[in-house]
């Protein structure tokens, strides 16, 4: 473990080298690994975005949301409805320059509405009310078959394209779509990094550590919380959009509370309050069950055991383990 701490410290101090390596790895990945691995990478990236967005709420603002799947699923349904080729859908366009803003606005409005309603509550009540709202959306998706396709969901979601009139390009192939996801992932990470280090982000951290103090300092904490909620919701919506485009399918499963639970577990396992923790959590939760379920039908118990072991031994998640070591070295 001490060695890991040393590696960690080395990584931190050799920024440029690491970035270069990673950049090359990410861009070159399709050349070296199988298409199957690329699909794993795509999924990990998508769920990393989803998990990081939740971490903004849970880790940075101290809002334990148990209904984050609401925005994830909504993003998927919006893109499916706007661009899907299906008897039920509008099938208007797959031009990402048009569809992405629609997804952002759609999930943003929903997040604003649910945020205003939910954020009057705190702690456990906030947990429950986010769960309730997400389940409401789930039940709408399941039963309003005329719009949502009911429990079968909406199929025929196309891959995105960039259409500038004279020139267009569709991210049709697996590899092309992979790069699309990588670009969005990098962009979101960049944006979030700025947000958490901005005065807004610092205010959020302040709210997490001592809300009443922030209030007494004159901050309108409700506005800040709503802001975080909307940002998190929009980013989750974008990740949901990506998943629907990847699978060519939007499913109500994406709204079910166990999806909210899964992403929450990703955040906690990886370590709250960091941007990288959720990524690690996403890797664990997506890749591990996949590998395990091939070798045993009992993979659920092993996942359960992992969760339990984590809670008992590493409550700060993996990032907690790594940073604890680093603290010790200092």
């Amino acid at each position: 473990m001490k060695k890991m701490g040393n590696v960690y410290a080395w990584i931190l101090s050799h920024n440029v080298h690491v970035l270069a390596i990673l950049f090359i790895l990410a861009i070159g990945a399709p050349l070296w690994v199988t298409t199957y691995t690329i699909s794993l990478l795509i999924e990990v990236l998508i769920f990393s975005i989803f998990a990081i967005s939740l971490d903004l709420l849970v880790g940075y603002t101290g809002l334990p949301s148990f209904g984050h799947a609401a925005f994830f699923g909504l993003g998927a349904y919006i893109i499916a409805y706007i661009s899907g080729d299906n008897e039920l859908t509008l099938g208007l366009t797959k031009n990402i320059l048009l569809t992405l803003p629609i997804v952002i606005v759609g999930t943003g409005l929903m997040a604003l509405l649910l945020g205003i309603l939910s954020l009057r509550s705190d702690g456990v009540y906030f947990l429950m009310i986010t769960l309730a709202f997400a389940q409401m959306l789930f039940s709408i998706a399941m039963r309003w078959s005329a719009i949502t396709g009911g429990s079968d969901g909406l199929i025929g979601v196309p891959r995105p394209e960039i259409d500038l009139g004279l020139w267009n390009y569709t991210f049709e192939s697996r590899t092309a779509f992979y790069y699309f996801v990588v670009i969005i992932f990098a962009a979101i990470l960049f944006v979030l990094h700025h947000i958490v280090n901005s005065p807004f982000g610092l205010a959020l951290k302040g709210i997490k550590s001592n809300q009443s103090r922030m209030k007494s300092l004159g901050y309108n904490t409700l506005y800040y919380k709503i802001g975080a909620f909307v940002i998190a919701g929009v980013i989750a919506g974008v990740s949901g959009m990506l998943l629907a485009q990847f699978y060519w399918h939007a499913s109500p499963e994406n709204l079910y509370w166990t999806m909210s639970g899964q992403v929450l577990i990703m955040v906690i396992l990886g370590g709250v309050g960091t941007l990288i923790g959720p990524i690690i959590g996403a890797i664990l939760m997506r890749v591990l069950p996949n590998i395990m379920s091939t070798h045993t039908h009992n993979w659920q118990s092993y996942m359960g055991l992992i969760l339990i072991v984590f809670v008992l031994c590493a409550p700060n998640g993996i990032m907690g383990i790594l940073s604890k070591r680093r603290n010790k070295d200092l």
Partner: protein, 288 residues
Amino acid sequence: MNEMIVQSINSIVFSMLLFIMAAGLSLIFGHTNFINLAHGSFYVLGGYIGITAINQIGNYWLALLLVPILVGLLGATIEYLFLRRLYGKHRHLEQVLFTMGLALITTDIIRLNWGTYVVNIEPPILLDASITLFDAQFPLYRIAIIAAGLTIAGLLWILIQRTRLGTILRAGVSDIDLVSETGINIQVIFTGIFALGTALAALAGIIGAPLHGLYPGLQFEILVLTLAVVIVGGLGDLKGAFLGSILIGTVDTFGKALLPEISLFLIFALMAIVLLVKPSGLFSARGE
């Protein structure tokens, strides 16, 4: 009109089943402030262990008595070994994680022991009959469920109102550090609450199984429904759990009958409204 009355009875039956579940969760959630996402798993475990017990013992009633005790002991053991390290208001996320882990493990244990096919519990011979209601048949077993629910409500009421334990619970004690200074062994009480809660869940599982069968995914469905009851009724409040069960049971039953498209939506809408307007629960005596 006759059917309205029959549906009302249907809803009371379902409410009583919900109540037995919700009482357990309300006790745990309300008094130890512990989020137990494995509550549904205890329900399902009760059902499956019940099947085995009935087959092995050969006597339904004996199994009905023993299985909840067994599951309660299991709950107590889990609490003693693991859960007591996780108490505390700021540790809800860890509780969520842990109990989800438990739920996952339970899923596999059930699949390994009892397979993936549909399994059923038959109602006991004594109750496997019907009464006539408005020229139509109504299963006696469901009437018995109402009786069971009321009995348990009564027993719990005695426990809360007439015993020392009940006094402690009614005082709204949930802070370990504060209370241990008064000399009461709060650890034992918490273990006891958890044991009682899980025993009730298992009992509800055995009782409910003949109604809907035992199938994968049941543990999560029943959990969410029970959460709705506890939220609507109020945490830690027996009267709240009872009235909340009646409300949710009625909305669910009549929703399914009259407005099947939105019945599921209604329950969560109700839950959301209560959380917004009166988070402590519609029927609890406590204020904000």
